[in-house]
């Protein structure tokens, strides 16, 4: 859990101030007991700088391996061991550098227990503060992640509901049926049937389900038939399915948003006839589906065109295969092409 540079800096400042106070206090105390000033300062520096090192080491360790409640005993033992090691080390250094000062050696031996207590106290407090601080940060982050995840889930659910209903398509189709009832009742009856089958297909299929291309095409055909009634002569489709791709699999309901995007982009952008092409082939064991529609480069940038439903298809493909390259769009002259690649799951 790397902390931000700001809090790292704040940490260093806090530590520096605390140690300056500690060292000053240490030196003043020795000076008070009639040690020469120089000896007092050297003693203070030699004792406290290694202690600072030990504290920073402990801080750094708990920052990456935050101990659980059951490990508090281990922490206590670790503190005692570290304090002893620190004490031995500083005693060795102090003897080396200060034995020339009169009766220093005897004083050092007598004060060992006090040095141990203070060292242990300081290390213990620092460790406790560190554990508290990092636990609190961890909790804060978990809370945030939880909130984010909940928000995402809520939005996804709403979006899915909305997508499933496709209100615009539904109400326009009902309006067409309403018109047909008056003029061509037989066709109205047929369209009711198609719309029902289409809606059933939408509700029945789980998004996690895999279907064969043939199945998906049947569902897509219902959708296209309805759109053709709505838009009449303005919408034409050319579908070319290669024999060997018929039984290949793809996630259910994946193609309809791609085709819907092509129709919207094509029909809403050109006033004449719109030809939507759908071609499939097999390439390196993957199912390749190519959908293209005409558009007018004068009035709409392809950037706008990708906005409709392709984002959600892209997202689904990413969640399924963890790949970003499975949906590619291309605008060339006045044809917009969407290519979807479906890797075949072994055994799926």
């Amino acid at each position: 859990m790397p902390a931000s540079p700001f809090s790292a800096r704040r940490f260093l400042i806090t530590f520096s101030i605390a140690w300056l106070v500690l060292m000053a206090d240490h030196a003043i105390l020795l000076y008070w007991f009639d040690f020469p000033l120089k000896a007092a300062i050297i003693d203070s520096i030699i004792s406290n700088i290694p202690l600072l090192g030990v504290c920073l080491l402990v801080m750094n360790t708990i920052r990456y391996y935050l101990p659980g409640r059951e490990q508090y005993m281990n922490i206590l033992i670790m503190c005692i061991v570290l304090t002893i090691l620190w004490l031995l080390f500083s005693k060795w250094l102090l003897e080396l550098s200060l034995n020339s000062f009169g009766d220093y050696e005897e004083f050092l031996h007598r004060s060992l227990i006090i040095r141990f207590s203070i060292g242990f106290l300081v290390l213990g407090i620092v460790t406790m503060m560190g554990i508290n601080w990092f636990t609190w940060q961890e909790q804060q982050k978990t809370e945030e992640r939880k909130k984010d995840a909940e928000k995402l889930a809520r939005e996804a659910e709403l979006f899915k509901l909305r997508q499933q209903l496709q209100p615009h398509f539904l109400f326009n189709s009902l309006n067409s049926i309403n018109a047909l009832i008056g003029i061509r009742p037989e066709e109205a009856r047929k369209m009711v049937q198609q719309l029902s089958d289409f809606l059933r297909g939408t509700i029945k299929k789980e998004e996690t389900q895999w279907v064969s291309l043939m199945e998906e095409m049947q569902y897509l055909q219902l959708y296209l038939d309805i759109e053709k009634v709505r838009f009449g002569n303005r919408l034409a489709t050319v579908i070319e399915i290669e024999e060997e791709t018929q039984q290949m699999k793809l996630p259910a309901l994946l193609l309809q948003p791609v085709v819907e995007n092509a129709i919207k982009f094509g029909l809403y952008d050109t006033t004449g006839e719109t030809i939507i092409r759908l071609e499939t082939r097999k390439q390196e064991g993957e199912l390749i589906i190519k959908v293209s529609n005409p558009f007018d480069p004068e009035t709409s940038s392809p950037k706008q065109g990708t906005g409709f439903g392709l984002k959600s298809v892209q997202r689904r493909l990413y969640l399924l295969f963890a790949r970003h390259d499975l949906l590619v769009t291309e605008a060339k002259e006045n044809i917009f092409t969407t290519v979807v690649k479906i890797p075949q799951m072994p055994g799926a």
Partner: protein, 245 residues
């Protein structure tokens, strides 16, 4: 009295035509499949009433109305458009939700006949003002250039300049005039991309290459094209905060 139906779906037009038969005082003079035909037909026939779909090819119903100087009375017909419906309700303009029946249709006609004496023009104007802030419409601006209609993608705009009752929209293909206020554009355009740098100027920040001091308190923004856009003291502050300086 004359009426025109504008809808891109053939069957949607035919149902309105069918319901209109019960109103012989209204003569159907034209049926249009998109906004361009709609504009032509309205100029040609000067109808009293139009039935207008919103989602249509090229330009939508609102954008079409914006291009007509004195729009006739409108009854909107739409399938599903949350945003538009809110706008209608806010401005007491009648709308028919597809599919609708003869009864509902007759009611809309009756309401129109009743209101015809009082002016509905202001309501339509207000509606357009609200509608042009809808998300689908804020990424392009539709203008009329003589008899031609031009759709400007918002990211193509260099800057906007006030010019009396109009706003000059500077683009790679020269400038276009739109009969709107600077305040309108300041509200409609994305504030992270377009900044009101001066009382009379709104600039596309992505086009700025540098900002130079100019006279006392003022600055001037130099665009990629070399054009210079005045920046007032307040505008400079706004620019700085958007550019993160």
């Amino acid at each position: 009295m004359k009426a025109i139906i504008i809808d891109d779906e053939n069957l949607a037009r035919s149902i309105v035509k069918e319901y209109l038969q019960r109103h012989p005082q209204l003569e159907l003079v034209a049926e249009c499949g998109d906004g361009f035909e709609g504009i032509k037909a309205i100029q040609q026939y000067q109808p009293d009433l139009i039935f207008l779909d919103i989602q249509m090819p090229k330009i939508n119903g609102f954008e079409m109305l914006e291009l007509i100087e004195q729009p006739p009375a409108v009854i909107f017909t739409t399938a599903f458009d949350e945003y538009a419906i809110k706008a209608f309700e806010a401005h007491a303009i009648d709308y028919l939700l597809k599919p609708f029946n003869q009864e509902r249709f007759d009611k809309a006609i009756a309401k129109w006949l009743e209101q015809k004496t009082t002016s509905t023009e202001t309501a339509t104007q207000e509606l357009l003002e609200t509608a042009s802030q809808s998300p689908s419409q804020s990424n392009r601006i539709v203008v009329k250039n003589g008899s031609k209609i031009k759709i400007i993608p918002v990211h193509d705009i260099f800057y906007l300049e006030a010019a009396d009752d109009y706003v000059k929209i500077h683009t790679p293909e020269g400038y276009f005039l739109k009969n709107k206020t600077m305040n309108h554009f300041e509200q409609v355009l994305d504030g992270q991309q377009f900044v009101r740098s001066h009382r009379s100027y709104i600039v596309n920040v992505q086009q700025i290459t540098r900002i130079d001091p100019y006279e006392k308190d003022n600055h001037v923004a130099i665009l990629r094209t070399g054009a210079k856009v005045p920046v007032s003291r307040g505008g400079y502050g706004k620019l700085k905060s958007v550019l993160g300086l």
